[in-house]
């Protein structure tokens, strides 16, 4: 890892990272892929988030669906753990709650492959400082 030695270093790094993310997200980009975030806070893990993450990784690989599965912190929907957020290229991210392996399979099958929503979406009900 290179050391960040000045504000300019930081800005440069940030711009590079942001550009990469933007590229990944835009629907028109051929390299854009499905991204899934699994909420892995204590509550999430206690409710089985780790198993879900493993399941998703394995399942997507088996079905040869190119996707990135990453962990993230608490999304705030503790009542609906485990919670995952799925971003399809060019679409707004959708949050699914109470995800067990059955539902995870359903999400891959219906939403990721067929762009078909499943019951139990969690509507985002907050603003962050970005918007």
């Amino acid at each position: 890892m290179n050391k960040i030695k000045s504000f300019d270093d930081l800005k440069q790094l940030r711009e590079g990272l942001q550009a990469k993310i933007k590229q990944r997200n835009s629907g028109s980009n051929p390299e854009s892929i499905v991204r899934i975030k699994v909420a892995m806070s204590t509550c999430g893990i206690a409710s089985g988030a780790k198993e879900i993450m493993n399941f998703l990784t394995d399942e997507l690989e088996q079905q040869s669906i190119e996707a990135v599965v990453t962990q993230t912190g608490c999304m705030g929907y503790c009542y609906a753990e485990p919670t995952i957020e799925v971003s399809l290229p060019g679409k707004e991210p959708i949050v699914f709650g109470d995800v067990d392996t059955f539902r995870a399979a359903e999400i891959i099958e219906k939403y990721i492959i067929h762009n078909e929503l499943v019951d139990g979406i969690l509507p985002v009900n907050y603003r962050t400082i970005d918007n």
Binding site: S6, R14, I21, C43, Q71, I129
Partner: protein, 597 residues
């Protein structure tokens, strides 16, 4: 193969469900089918939108149209007008409360403003174990700005201007705290992050550390720059292994990038962070106790002054800030004091994270601007009371806070309003209670906690709280008298007045607030020896109604102690000598035959 061009989202939150959202879905489905649009339009049930006051809600994607107060019979109109004709149904649109104009795109609606995420901005968004994702979202830019463009005093002024007050409970202005340390003369100063989140029912700090550890690290470095400290310590509960691990990873990554260590951003500023672990003592949330604990001592508080800002860890000036306080600092620097100051009420600026828990549908972590009302939090964001029960009380401030009733639901939440209402902000736990919760028992529960966690140093807290607990115990057993209520209040006041630290000074709050707000319930216990909520075991009796009992044996099979007898298909009987009043029979009975008295 279906390729949907449109999705109709029907709110399946409990609040909406009770107002027939399932019927709405069925009707919508039928309408879609009637037009033969099954392959083009999908109808799905979602989780709670958090806008329950205006439910049931139907949202249309991709155009983000937001219909409120939808009735089952509106389904036809929505499909006919919106789906088929492509025209929005104006009557069902949400009206802007200010302009009275209908808003069609939900992104323009103020309900999104109910929650504004500042401290939680990255939680659930970034991978907390990847510093690059933090940097991509302006991470460490605030530190860079401070170091390269501002003097310490300028940064302190900015924080002061933002009006931020400590989120740990006391509400002391953050900028002022930093300024005091910065003006103290010493060869070494310290920045301490108080992550000893101990309020039962509060988990904001844990979530932030698990979801966005870098924001805390960055803020500590900024604080170090402002106060002239080169060493930071995080005092974190050992009960939070995941948070500890994420924090360690984050510190490591920051060091790798040179964002911690020597010559940060090529300046002369050096700063590094080490971890100290709590070991299960609530009182260590108090600054002086926390410092003693970090020094390897018993976590007993000492009298203030001297304040840690002047004489803290190892006798050196020490700034102690709570996790949530720190997590907002980079935003104040990046977006400016004015941005932060524009949110909130006159004396409480910015947002506050609450951990919503208890008898509420959407248990979770929320962040709202100061000044949001309890009603909005509980009913709009929290989705109302679980199981359709009646709201009874909301407890804020943990063991230091109080239980508020219906009449406070429209009180805007800020530091001063909550204190005036007999509770306090505390660290942000918000526990909702319903009609089944006995307020005397709740008060007793908190006292038991305080008793367990009192350090035992000062008389009022050590013995006084014990006596308070004993009086409450007497009352819940039906042995209390009205005189006990007078004694309870008088002792509460003395304990508040004479205790050494914040723990004792606030420990009577759960009793005082319930005495104020639920006096009748206390009276019922001492006068009639009855527990209206049916929770005080000594005061309740379970019995089976001969008429209603069908002899299904379900209660018999579930009774953990074998207190229920009876033949199959004939009325059962509860032996109260054996009954432990667990209430399983009551919960299990399908025929309403078990009654509580």
């Amino acid at each position: 193969m279906a390729d949907y061009r449109m999705h109709l989202l029907v709110c399946g939150g409990t609040g909406c469900k009770s107002s027939e959202s399932e019927q709405i879905r069925d009707n919508l489905l039928a309408e879609v089918e009637r037009y033969g649009l099954n392959d083009e339009v999908q109808v799905v049930m979602t989780g709670c939108f958090g806008f329950c006051g205006k439910g049931p809600i139907v949202k249309v994607l991709p155009d983000n149209t937001f219909y409120v107060l939808v009735k089952p019979e509106d389904a036809a109109t929505i499909v006919e007008e919106h789906v088929v004709m492509g025209r929005k149904v104006n009557d069902l649109l949400y009206l802007d409360p200010e302009s009275d104009e209908p808003i069609s795109d939900s992104k323009q609606m103020d309900f999104h403003k109910k929650q504004v995420r500042i401290a939680l901005r990255n939680c659930g968004v970034i991978n907390p174990e990847n510093i690059d994702e933090y940097i991509a979202r302006d991470g460490y830019a605030a530190l860079a700005t401070c170091l390269s463009e501002k003097s310490p005093q300028q940064v302190i002024n900015e924080i002061k201007l933002s009006g931020q007050r400590g989120r740990g409970g006391g509400g002391f202005p953050t900028g002022l705290k930093w300024e005091i340390t910065s003006k103290s003369q010493a060869d070494q100063k310290y920045v301490v992050c108080n992550a000893d989140e101990g309020d039962p029912g509060a988990f904001m700090d844990r979530s932030i550390l698990e979801g966005d550890p870098h924001s805390v690290i960055e803020a500590m470095a900024i604080c170090g720059y402002c106060t002239g400290s080169t060493k930071g310590l995080v005092y974190i509960r050992a009960e939070y292994p995941l948070a500890i691990q994420r924090l360690k990873t984050a510190i490591h990554q920051a060091r790798e990038y040179g964002l911690l260590g020597d010559v940060i951003f090529g300046t002369t500023f050096s700063f590094d962070i080490t971890l100290r672990y709590g070991a299960g003592a609530f009182v260590c949330g108090e600054e002086t106790a926390l410092i003693h604990s970090m020094e390897g001592l018993r976590g007993e508080p000492t009298f203030k002054p001297p304040f840690p800002s002047e004489s803290g860890y190892l006798g050196k000036p020490t700034t102690v800030n709570n996790v949530e306080t720190l997590a907002s600092i980079p935003v104040i620097i990046n977006k400016g004091a004015a941005f932060f100051n524009s949110i909130g009420t006159e004396k409480s600026k910015g947002t506050k994270v609450f951990a919503l828990a208890g008898k509420i549908n959407n248990v979770g972590l929320i962040e709202v601007p100061m000044g949001t009302t309890l009603r909005e939090v509980i009913f709009d964001i929290g989705g109302g009371i679980k199981g359709g029960k009646k709201f009874k009380s909301v407890q804020t401030g943990g063991p230091s806070g109080g239980c508020l009733t219906n009449s406070f639901l429209d009180t805007p939440i800020d530091y001063d309003n909550l204190i005036a209402a007999g509770s306090m902000m505390g660290s942000g736990g918000m526990i909702v209670m319903d009609e089944d919760d006995c307020m005397v028992s709740i008060a007793k529960f908190y006292l038991e906690f305080t008793l367990d966690e009192s350090c035992g140093k000062c008389t009022p807290c050590r013995i006084g709280n014990k006596r308070l607990y004993e009086i409450l115990d007497k009352i819940t057993k039906g042995l209390g008298t009205e005189e006990d209520l007078t004694r309870l209040r008088s002792l509460c006041n003395v304990i508040k007045d004479t205790s050494l630290c914040g723990l004792g000074q606030t420990s009577p709050n759960p009793i005082l607030s319930t005495l104020d707000n639920f006096y009748d319930e206390y009276l019922a216990h001492v006068r009639d020896h009855k527990c209206p909520a049916g929770q005080c075991k000594s005061l309740v009796k379970y019995s089976i109604d001969n008429e209603k009992c069908t002899g299904c044996t379900l209660c018999f099979r579930n009774c953990p102690v074998g207190a229920i007898t009876g033949e199959k298909r004939s009325p059962h009987f509860i032996d109260n000598a054996i009954c432990i009043k667990c209430g399983v029979c009551y919960d299990k009975c399908k025929f309403d035959a078990v009654s509580v008295s």
